[in-house]
């Protein structure tokens, strides 16, 4: 019962944030200096066309009514119509949501695969030369701009060695894995250093805990202690770090998608900004915010799966 209560409470907490988020997304179009419709049409439309577009967007109604229509529409998945592509925004976003989420999960998995062994080694040999070496590599990795890493990986592995395709998404799951390897690696290269440091310090904290002493006194092997006790307890701070940085991860993905001409939400955003396609921009900012919130919710729920004591707080 406590579990259901916890989940419900957590979802209720999201409501005020959702209202704030929808207000920001809604108001963005009204903050455009001058007439947004005029700007969207690049100043080339007649007064009649402008009036029609204004009517289509509902911009001729009072603000509160517009907001309610916006929220009401968003709840049933109606985000209006793209000015440029003449298609419903939810369809345009829907097509690209899958690839973007795939990229996100793939990058996170790659980052964990890279970070986990490095963090374990760094924590076991803390303050030794290997630990310092790993930290220096991390500091360099953290400072590398994703667009630059993406470009270099694309040239090296895509154009020179021809191991991986330099753009596209592919059709089957295996093709996705192959097509998305370079963009995911680019994002993972930025995320992994953050993960290594947080996992390392979390492991160091756990390793001094009493129950690890007990496990050691029981004569458990070092390998078993690290795998069963230390990593499990160090997982919570790491999930927190992943969840807190999800905004940065998504932001980095925007740039990386653009570099690889990847058919995802990020490249759509860059293009929509170029075309001043405000309905698409509005819809995207809403969708991005919801992705962040859902991931944070999932993070909270996974704490519960790892450690039931969360419920008692």
């Amino acid at each position: 019962m406590a579990i259901i209560e916890y989940i419900l409470g957590r979802i209720l907490q999201m409501v005020p944030v959702l209202i704030g988020v929808s207000l920001v997304a809604f108001l963005s179009i009204h903050l455009v200096p001058g007439d947004p419709v005029q700007i969207m049409m690049h100043g080339r439309a007649t007064e009649e066309v402008l009036a029609t577009v204004r009517g289509e967007l509902g911009l001729d109604r009072p603000l509160p009514i517009q907001y309610l229509r916006f929220v009401g529409g968003a709840m049933v998945g109606d985000l209006g119509k793209s000015i440029i592509q003449k298609a419903p925004v939810d369809e345009i976003i829907g097509e690209r949501l899958g690839p973007s989420l795939f990229l996100l999960v793939y990058s996170a998995v790659l980052a964990v695969v890279i970070a986990l062994p490095l963090a374990v080694v760094a924590a076991l040999k803390a303050e030794g030369p290997i630990d310092h070496g790993i930290r220096i590599v991390g500091i360099i990795g953290f400072a590398m701009p994703p667009f630059w890493v993406g470009l270099l990986l694309m040239v090296l592995f895509g154009l020179v060695l021809r191991w991986f395709p330099i753009s596209g998404y592919g059709r089957t799951f295996i093709e996705h894995l192959w097509h998305l390897f370079l963009p995911s690696l680019t994002i993972a290269a930025f995320l992994a250093p953050i993960l290594v440091q947080s996992l390392r310090s979390a492991m160091l904290d756990v390793m001094t805990a009493d129950y690890i002493e007990v496990a050691r006194a029981k004569g458990l092997s070092r390998r078993r202690i690290v795998l069963k006790h230390v990593l499990r307890n160090a997982a919570i701070p790491v999930i927190t770090v992943l969840a807190v940085n999800i905004g940065w991860l998504l932001g980095g993905a925007v740039v990386v998608e653009y570099v690889f001409a990847f058919p995802g939400l990020g490249s759509l955003l860059v293009r929509a900004v170029g075309h001043r396609d405000y309905p698409v921009i509005q819809g995207l900012s809403l969708v991005f915010a919801v992705i962040v919130m859902v991931i944070n919710l999932l993070a909270d729920l996974s704490y519960m799966a790892i450690d039931r004591r969360v419920l008692r707080r």
Partner: protein
């Protein structure tokens, strides 16, 4: 006396802080003297000598319109460091103030603050910046406005969390019992203990802001073209990367070296200021 104090302080610096600070100082000095360090101008085109590979005359080669890449990278220090510095430390000042007040006062002010912070972190930072750019149009001024609107929230969150801890400590109670006004208790007594985590975070934030500005310029939404901004230079060299790798690669390397030196400073500061957390979260 002061010489000894400085020597003692330097002796307490960890190696990472010394190395990072040395590198960073070198970069700043190079940026200051950029116009006198090479015989070229960052904007003058030389169509007879375009796409030349690195050589003694042009250590970083020339770009597609014959401009000396090294000269442009050195002038880029001024742009990227200046924007990075302003976008880090301006929001930090009022973020710290608002966060510390929020944590100390509690009540409706704190509730309002928390709701604002919740909404701000719900959006991916870069996405919100791009949305603001879509509203106001691209350019450096828009980047300043967008970052000033958003970036303070991270410092406010840190300062608030620290203040919640400090608020209950004896020295704060003592200051309150002595009847000091709230502003004095918050800013003179508690602030020095609240500020450390933000100072350490600011170094990582500085790196992230340089990445932000260069990313936006790379996308064509930040610093406009003829200016030698590093990200914009990477974008300019993109079409020639197969034949002329140096145009894109070397400005990117400048970002890495600058960012790494800042991260080293952050790492060292975390040690020196006794912060448990390392430089990046």
């Amino acid at each position: 006396m002061t010489a000894i104090a400085i020597r003692d302080e330097l002796a307490r610096w960890p190696a990472s802080l010394k190395i990072g600070a040395t590198f960073f100082l070198l970069i700043v000095v190079t940026g200051l003297f950029a116009p006198w360090l090479t015989p070229y101008d960052p904007y003058t085109q030389d169509l007879a000598g375009f796409l030349q590979p690195p050589s003694w005359r042009h250590p970083f080669g020339t770009d597609h319109v014959g401009r000396d890449v090294l000269t442009r990278v050195l002038h880029g220090i001024r742009i990227d460091l200046q924007i990075g510095f302003i976008t880090t430390y301006v929001p930090m000042t009022y973020g710290l103030l608002l966060g510390a007040l929020s944590g100390y006062l509690g009540g409706w002010f704190d509730t309002l603050m928390m709701r604002l912070l919740d909404v701000a972190v719900a959006f991916p930072f870069l996405v919100l910046i791009i949305v603001i750019i879509a509203i106001l149009g691209p350019g450096v001024h828009t980047i300043y406005i967008a970052v000033f609107l958003l970036a303070w929230t991270m410092y406010a969150r840190l300062a608030r969390a620290e203040m919640l801890v400090e608020r209950g400590k004896d020295y704060v109670l003592a200051a309150r019992t002595l009847g000091y006004p709230t502003s004095r208790v918050v800013f003179r007594h508690a602030m020095p203990n609240v500020i450390n985590s933000s100072i350490v975070f600011s170094m990582a934030d500085f790196v992230l802001n340089i990445l932000l500005v260069s990313s936006l310029s790379f996308l064509g939404l930040g610093v406009p073209p003829p200016l030698p901004e590093w990200g914009a230079m990477v974008a300019e060299g993109r079409d020639f990367i197969f034949d002329a790798w140096w145009i894109s690669t070397l400005p990117g390397l400048a970002i890495v070296v600058t960012g790494a030196s800042l991260s080293l400073i952050g790492d060292g500061l975390a040690h020196r200021l006794g912060q448990r957390q390392r430089s990046f979260l």
